[in-house]
Symmetry: D5
Subunit: 123 residues, 10 copies
């Protein structure tokens, strides 16, 4: 599945309270993909936190989007940034953060966090 | 039950210490409503944190108010904002935050937080 | 027991290190009082955090002071503020915070926090 | 909904390994019903453990069956026994246990466990 | 309050499933009484587990019964046995166990468990 | 992958202490397969406990064997029994138990346990 | 302090329910003594579980008895057995167990349990 | 280091209470050795539980004995049995059990338990 | 032991990386002293956090220093400040904090924290 | 192994998203080295958090690098700073922090944290 096909999986709906900057968090503890070097499966938990602008991400489509990595070879550092890029493109949020917490490999476990903040926002 | 009937459930009492900006938190781990798409029940924990001005929300009426969503079809992002709007209207607090932590659906669990801050307050 | 009698229970001792602004915390998980509406007992944990000036509160007298609410009818929002007022009067601290975490009633549990800061203090 | 209608909700499938006496456990932490005295909602977790004979209970139908108590007035001691009776009638297991763990009411929380064992079984 | 008055607080209802030997557990984490030597309050959690015969103990009356020890001076070893005696007299169970877990005094915490088993029962 | 190909993945080595009946447990928290009805991924933790006779299962081959279910459609009740059958065939243990603990679906989570005991063993 | 002086610290009171074989447990997490080899302090938690006959051990005297080891040099294996011997001599129980859980030394932590059962008891 | 050299590390002392069959447990969470196939380090927690006869194992020597595996290549199933054999030879206990809980490798974690019981013991 | 003798117990070593302001934390959960009023032992956990300048505190000497309070009568509020004063005198840190968390007395547990910051430091 | 040989173990790869300042964390709970004074093994957990610039550290090489301390004598305060120095030299990050949490010695456990921040970075 190429990048464009994957992005097409994400559906959105109109933010029911677009004037308030409120926080939304979705946690998927059932993430899995494949190590691009060894071909062995990787496992982890993906957390998405964002403040919506006009659109929210639809939960079922988000589940299918994350499942699309199931048999894909991808590095930890890469996948977290790609999920952030795809979701920013889909919902154009005021701000968003994506965190991946991956299970131990060689005794060592890793956590990657990438963040996006829309330019026009005044803190 | 329409929005006006629901708001009418909320009762308040005079803040016994109105001159001090102290914090009040109520947590209801027994929230349930219905998914507006599938008709299936949703479950979660609603946390209300506020600094009262002249009025406090009465606990028993808050319980009945939250129970009024039991058989209502409502989205996560919507209900948290509506609870905030209704409580702000009822107790006119200095500031308030409402958080909904919902149980897993499709393996994924969600948390929504909305906040209100009265304009005249100087931090 | 009236308010003056209750305050008289609190004993203090000279702060052994009055020149340093250090933090003191006492936690009483065995607080109980009575609901002023239903007459049913309430239970909770009272946490007192303060920075002493000239005096510290004596622990045994604090225990007796908190026990004095055992058969008193008092609201959550009220008792936390009254404990703060009584302790501020007794030890005249640089700053103080009192938190009450109360056990579930109607499925819902509540936490109240009130704070005091002496005027002359420069942060 | 009468008892017969409720039982009709339960669907079964052929046990894929009927010759082995293996254990199956399903836990539904999202149970809710209504107190028959006060009309207030009750909440709890229902655990079903059984050793199947010819049939297994289908998971989705079990979810709908447990949801059917949502707006029903029923006592703790009663509902656990009725769930056991209905499931025994539906899957005719070698043995079965149903446990309900209910959330605090009046500060007190309750757990009820009822068990069934087919007569012909030799331990 | 004398022993007879206290027992009179306990109300019972007909066991809805008297032919099945199922287990009932009620846990009251909000128990308090008074030390008969020092007059200081004691705190603990009372757990009641039983198999009913013809009658079950009614929950609200059980709460009031346990509250009746609030200002009574009674030893740990004594109160657990007296609760067992009173409940056995009230509901005449097939079997019953009462456990009291008391909070630390002098750094040390105590747990007392007393059990009853009806004579005619065949295990 | 058919059943014979899957079994061929399991490798064994000679039990280094065959005269002692000692216990071996392997836990794989990273199990995943696919629901045969919906095609959606399932997740769980597989625990294998056994007492070896002449052979032990080699850990790396066990990992590959469990991974072979990754894109297979299989029911909970079925997969636990099939893992037990395959491992019993491969290592011919004195006794073995396989447990699958699966993550929530529809709010409900399930645990399946199947056991094997060699006939000639005297307990 | 010699062995006889230490035993003299233990006081007892008449078992208020001598006809019922109920269980009593006291846990002291604040035990400390001194290593007889290095002179360094040891720390641990002492648990005493017993079924009383005619006498119960008085809690305050038990605290003083356990404190008497504070500056004594004694091995783990020895002290647990000596506490058991002293308490059996003092309260002549139907049965008793003493457990010592000691904090890590050289990375390793230890637990010792010794038990006593009166000869005339029929299980 | 050969097997005889390793056993020579274990020192014992006379059981101070040889007539009572009491339980001793030592837990070493800082075990490490080397995988005999890959040369990579393995980590785990070793638990030793025994009932002494005439001798007890001395703690410091036990620490040195377990450290002797630090740079040794040894399989999980093998090392647990060898520790048991060495300790049984050193202290000739009434009974003994050794458990090794090893950290995840390939996502999977393992626990091995081996037990010894002296022949003359009557249970 | 007087104050000067106690301070003499503390040994230091040259900070191996004096140019970097890095954080050091030592936690001693095995602290004990004696209540100056009742003579009863007190227990707690002492946490020391600091940023070294030229010297670091040596761990073994820190252990002996903290042990020197074992049979000393000292108040909670006092001992935490005295440990801070002694350590500041010994290692002359850039900054340091000492926290004492003490076990329950009269049901109530206390935490004291005192901090030091060198004057010349620019934040 | 000298310092230069150890640094040569670290391999890097091109940061796949060099324009975004995202956070990477690797945790190795299986760190061990040797006390330079006593020769006894030390154990701990090493946490590395950084924001990459052009390069990321490769996970397998990081594992080998950390393993290289296995039989090295090194102080807590030293090793944490040296890991930071080596990793900063290898990946030239925007910022980095290394934390070592070491297991109890003499009852006391220690945590050391050192941080690096590139000069050109604007916060």
């Amino acid at each position: 599945m190429n990048s464009q096909q994957r992005r097409a999986l994400l559906e959105t709906f109109a933010n029911p309270h677009p004037r308030r900057a409120y926080r939304i968090e979705h946690v998927q503890p059932e993430y899995t993909s494949v190590c691009p070097v060894t071909g062995q499966p990787d496992y982890g938990e993906i957390t998405i936190r964002y403040v919506a602008a006009a659109r929210c991400v639809e939960l079922k489509s988000l589940k299918f989007y994350l499942q699309s990595f199931r048999n894909e070879g991808v590095f930890y550092e890469d996948v977290v940034n790609r999920i952030l890029d795809d979701l920013v493109a889909a919902v154009k949020p005021r701000e968003m953060a994506v965190t991946g917490r991956f299970t131990p490999r060689g005794g060592m476990h890793s956590t990657i966090t990438a963040e996006y903040r829309a330019r026009s926002r005044k803190g």
